[in-house]
């Protein structure tokens, strides 16, 4: 079920009313309702893959219980590896099997020996990369003693399948989300209104910005050989806004929806396009995934400690894995590699933690220096997005070659004025709200209610009038 669909518009109020009016007093029943609603939500897309979520839930629940009983370090490690192998194994089969088979077949053919690889005719279960990482975080944290394993299977199933963030994150840590299923939730007016506000802004990002950008980004990328360099540049910029609007919009809707049910999820995007360098960008982009990699891979590898070559290795490992996590295609790996290249100088010069505050913290506008840094960061990020969006690495390089020629200085053939105005409005609101968890969190709160309602009403109508046609969220495929 898509957040931007009629189905979800009917599903959400039904679950909300049942949750607060019929099962409010019983925590267990509330959790059961969450599990049922989450399975309906997921099964709406394809019920056959519900078994995978259930399997993953049972495996990690059981391993969590066994870890609690087990004191032998060797056996505990064995249990941890069992969880990792099962979860990553599922991911490997469904997401990466065909990629590896195709690449091995090609590699052997290149070396002169013809082999026949049997690929699987399977589709990628939506959200598998997200819930797999979420359940893994539970087992790892239990193993590390950061969290006690739970005996409450329903609460654990609700944690794994929690529908607002099941298919595209944010990837919640068990230490943060799981305890919330054990606490009595009470309806809170301010939180609920805040949740609705965040849903509204998320829908604006997704339906107005991302879906409209998608229309033109797709047009340009799919026919890139027909367009001038300036149009290709515009196509890359549209894609940069598409992916940001799409993914951060989804996160906003997920966080807002969770808040309606009394849950707090962590911020997943913190205005990444206002970053002054790539290190800041990665602290602000897909925070739940970046911190997951940081805590469970980068730091155990040694992080930024140790010899220089180890630091370099760790940076490449983390960015290449991040790229590969996004999809079984070399384009994502090149994208990860590019970001590692961008990041490396900052790490080696120990300048990767220079910009930890909000840009132009005490003024309305950025300084010229800040603006230039922001522009450079946005430019190199957008350049990397070309590889992320392209179908193949060859196509990406061809796109780049065609972009950098004299026609870069001509007028673009595609000039959707309405979209450029919408993007300008969007950037302005995001800039004004950059100190907050999401752009409109407190932006208009000091205005009288009538004016606030007018603004929200205007946003709803813009979503309705200018909304692109219903498109799947990009991150569903990851």
């Amino acid at each position: 079920m898509l957040f931007n669909s009629l189905d979800f518009a009917l599903f959400l109020p039904v679950v909300f009313l049942l949750y607060w009016f019929t099962v409010q007093r019983h925590l267990k029943v509330q959790n059961v309702l969450i599990v049922v609603a989450s399975y309906v939500f997921y099964g709406w897309w394809d019920w056959r893959f519900l078994g995978l979520i259930a399997f993953s839930t049972i495996v990690d629940y059981t391993i969590g219980l066994l870890l609690a009983k087990q004191s032998s370090p060797v056996k505990r490690k064995g249990l941890l590896w069992a969880s990792i192998i099962i979860n990553i194994g599922l991911l490997g089969v469904f997401k990466y099997y065909n990629f590896f088979v195709a690449n091995f077949t090609e590699a052997f053919s290149f070396l002169g020996s013809k082999i026949q690889g049997n690929t699987l005719n399977i589709i990628l279960p939506v959200g598998i990369s997200f819930y797999t990482f979420q359940t893994l975080s539970y087992t790892i944290d239990v193993y590390r003693g950061k969290l006690q394993s739970t005996k409450d299977f329903i609460a654990f199933a609700a944690f794994v399948g929690f529908f607002p963030q099941l298919v595209a994150g944010p990837i919640e840590r068990a230490t943060h989300l799981l305890p919330q299923f054990f606490k009595q939730r009470r309806f809170n007016y301010s939180k609920a209104v805040d949740g609705l506000r965040q849903i509204l802004w998320g829908l604006f990002k997704k339906v107005v910005i991302a879906d409209n950008c998608a229309q033109f980004a797709n047009l340009i990328f799919d026919n890139y050989t027909d367009y001038s360099g300036s149009t290709l540049l515009l196509g890359a910029v549209f894609f940069a806004f598409q992916i940001y609007g799409d993914f951060s919009g989804y996160s906003d809707i997920a966080i807002g929806t969770s808040r309606l049910f009394g849950f707090e999820l962590k911020q997943n995007f913190a205005f990444p396009y206002f970053s002054r360098d790539i290190a800041e960008f990665w602290r602000r982009w897909h925070i739940s995934l970046s911190t997951w990699f940081r805590d469970y891979i980068y730091i155990p590898l040694g992080g930024s400690r140790g010899a220089v070559w180890l630091q370099i290795r760790n940076v490449f490992v983390i960015f290449l894995i991040s790229g590969f996590w996004h999809g079984a295609n070399w384009t994502f790996i090149v994208w990860g590699f590019l970001n590692a290249l961008y990041f490396l100088p900052l790490l080696l010069l120990k300048k990767n933690r220079v910009h930890t505050n909000v840009i132009a913290g005490h003024s309305k506008f950025p300084s010229l220096k800040e603006f230039s840094m922001m522009l450079v960061t946005f430019t190199i990020t957008t350049f990397a997005w070309i590889f992320f969006r392209a179908e193949t690495v060859v196509q990406a390089f061809d796109y780049v070659l065609r972009l950098f020629n004299l026609s870069l200085f001509s007028m673009p053939e595609v000039r959707p004025r309405f979209l450029i105005v919408l993007i300008a409005f969007f950037v302005l609101v995001e800039w004004c709200g950059r100190h907050q968890l999401y752009a409109i969190e407190r932006l208009w709160l000091r205005y009288p209610r009538g004016m606030r309602w007018t603004i929200y009403y205007a946003i709803v109508m813009v979503i309705f009038l200018y909304g692109g046609k219903e498109q799947e969220f990009i991150y569903f495929q990851f």
Binding site: L6, F187, Y457, F464, L465, G467
Partner: protein, 318 residues
């Protein structure tokens, strides 16, 4: 919670009211299909592809045959080839409480052909996901479900197109279902469009074949309509090159239609004999002027055949 719900409901009512107002503004400029799903059930229908949608004007026929009220319920070759989807939609549009209607069914080789992958099956055919397949209610005004589920443009176009008429707008759907297309008719533009259209259709020859399945659905459609009135199978004129392309797709198309008309006891007329008297916008669709001329001819045919039918009850097949 009560305050929250009351305020939320008030806000949503405000939004719903605005949306409903916006939807009530949808008209023939909104898209080429919407009005067809807002008219009431009809006693007499024009059916077929975009050739009929643009090429047959109910108003002209209705003026000739005085007691007739034909409604053009034709769409496009992609959304309304003969099949289960179109049949069920026709059934919803048809006023089954009254008899004595007239049904003009435009037929052409493409409307009884399918992609080779779906020759004998409903499953996976394209029309399932297009307007007719996704529009469950076809007689509601305003048709909220159509606008929510099947309307393909941004909603702002409902308003914008009203102000753009005469500027960039080149299509207008009349209340009687006729799709008026205003397009440059100078020879250079017409030739360019014709060549492009021919290229597309010649490309279709690779993957499209005559479909028994669609032919059976055409038979079922004819049988259904025959219960409620007189049925005319009409083949509209097209550019000679297009006609040649169609002959490659189904060489015995006319004899197939003649057998069908004989078996079902309905009329079949192929206007391609008079092809030179018509002009086309792109080799596939009649120009506005030719649409008027052809509609006049169909009107006269209905009128004369009505007389013949009334006089001796026989069916004349041309």
């Amino acid at each position: 919670m009560r305050v929250f719900l009351i305020r939320l409901i008030l806000f949503l009512l405000l939004v719903a009211g605005s949306v409903f107002f916006l939807f009530s503004q949808a008209d023939g400029y909104s898209d080429p299909y919407y009005l067809k799903f807002t008219s009431p059930k009809q006693r007499s229908l024009i059916l077929g592809s975009s050739r009929a949608a643009q090429g047959i004007r109910p108003e002209i026929i209705n003026n000739i045959v005085k007691d007739l009220s034909l409604y053009n319920y034709s769409f496009t070759i992609l959304s309304s080839p003969f099949g289960k989807v179109y049949y069920e939609s026709i059934l919803k549009k048809l006023d089954t409480l009254r008899n004595g209607g007239v049904f003009v069914i435009e037929v052409n080789p493409w409307s009884i052909s399918s992609h080779v992958q779906h020759l004998d099956t409903m499953h996976g055919v394209r029309e399932e996901s297009l307007h007719l397949g996704t529009t469950q209610y076809v007689n509601d005004c305003p048709n909220v479900l159509y606008l929510l589920k099947s309307y393909k443009s941004r909603y702002v176009n409902i308003i914008q197109n009203k102000f753009r008429k005469g500027e960039v707008m080149d299509m207008f759907l009349h209340d009687d279902g006729w799709l008026e297309v205003d397009i440059a008719m100078d020879s250079v533009s017409v030739n360019r469009r014709t060549l492009s259209k021919l290229d597309i259709y010649r490309g279709y020859l690779q993957d499209y074949r005559f479909s028994d399945w669609r032919y059976i659905w055409l038979q079922s459609t004819v049988s259904l309509l025959k219960k409620y009135g007189t049925v005319y199978l009409i083949r509209l004129p097209v550019h000679e090159e297009m006609l040649r392309t169609e002959a490659q797709l189904i060489p015995d198309f006319n004899s197939k239609m003649e057998s069908l008309s004989l078996a079902a006891g309905v009329y079949y007329v192929d206007y391609n004999d008079l092809q030179e008297s018509f002009s086309f916008t792109d080799g596939n669709h009649l120009s506005k002027t030719s649409a008027s001329n052809l509609s006049k001819m169909i009107g006269e045919l209905i009128l004369s055949n009505r007389n013949i039918y009334n006089a001796n009850g026989e069916i004349r097949i041309r």
